[in-house]
């Protein structure tokens, strides 16, 4: 076996840069591969206390709006009714736009009200309706993005109180 000579007192210990750079690049590749971009998420707040029938007391007058969402056999949006009145539109986007316009008109007529006292929207969707359409209806009722300056948008709020009735029975 050949041993390295134990050098004298003046031997200089050199730092090996090449393997350190290799390790650094390995770490870099690892972190780059495990990095994941998270898409921003937002919430729509729904407050739904359980109300017992026995404790029902007539509340102060509150504008209640019922939105009925109908689904076709594939779960796509087939129709939107506002207080039993069908809204115009051939496509889902047109129907949702019509809903947004109606809600905006109602809020403009009655006013948004004091915080916590505005109109209440109940969204009644068919069981098999895809959740994306329910979310689109919630968005249409909640507000609208308005361009106040080129590239700058502001949220105009419509309705803050959104509720859901008990789920409908699934159609076989």
């Amino acid at each position: 076996m050949r041993f390295r000579g134990t050098g004298g007192a003046g031997e200089k210990i050199e730092l090996q840069m090449t393997p350190m750079i290799d390790v650094v690049f390995q770490l870099l590749i690892f972190f780059m591969l495990t990095f994941k971009l998270a898409v921003p998420e937002g919430d729509f707040y729904v407050n739904m206390p359980l109300v017992s029938a026995a404790a029902g007391q007539p509340e102060e007058f509150q504008q209640e709006i019922e939105v009925r969402l109908r689904a076709d056999a594939q779960g796509m949006l087939a129709g939107v009714l506002l207080n039993d009145r069908p809204l115009p539109g051939g496509t889902a986007e047109e129907m949702i736009d019509a809903l947004r316009n109606e809600i905006r008109g109602i809020v403009a007529l009655f006013g948004p009200g004091a915080p916590g006292e505005g109109p209440e929207v109940q969204i009644d969707a068919d069981y098999h309706l895809r959740y994306q359409y329910t979310m689109s209806a919630i968005t249409a009722c909640s507000g609208q993005l308005v361009e106040i300056a080129p590239g700058r948008f502001e949220v105009v709020k419509f309705v803050e109180k959104i509720t859901f009735p008990p789920p409908r029975e699934p159609v076989p």
Partner: protein, 131 residues
């Protein structure tokens, strides 16, 4: 060059998150133009992830909605114990992350089940629309 490499490593190390988050990345959230992160997240909350079949992913298992009852009971008990211990009236919110293709009835069923366990406050999560 090695300084640049160290900078990049530090950048990715700060951003990476090894902890298992409550957000199931396999779920494609519905898109909403008004979805914005809340200024103040709820004080106490737990997350329920619904996939496109309406099943809940919980602790690595796929469960039907009714099968989540024991978990909700445990959360209800924990929330009540916390309220009694701290003497507060704080509410526990339920964050529902549902796939865009999930039947709406399943989401409503889940909300009804949570209501039966005393949870009134719901946050329906959506993805921000990328323009």
């Amino acid at each position: 060059m090695i300084d640049m490499a160290f900078q990049l490593i530090a950048f990715f190390m700060v951003l990476i998150n090894f902890s298992e988050t409550a957000a199931d990345q396999q779920i494609k959230l519905p898109v909403s133009e008004l979805a914005r992160p809340a200024d103040e997240p709820p004080e106490r909350s737990f997350t329920l992830n619904l996939n496109q079949d309406g099943r809940i992913r919980h602790l690595g298992q796929l469960l039907e909605i009714e099968e989540i009852r024991p978990y909700l009971t445990a959360e209800q008990r924990a929330a009540r114990t916390r309220r009694l211990a701290l003497g507060t009236d704080e509410k526990t919110s339920v964050i529902i992350r549902s796939d865009a293709a999930c039947p709406s009835g399943k989401v409503q069923q889940l909300m009804q089940l949570c209501q039966q366990h005393g949870f009134e406050s719901f946050h329906l999560r959506a993805q921000e629309r990328e323009d």
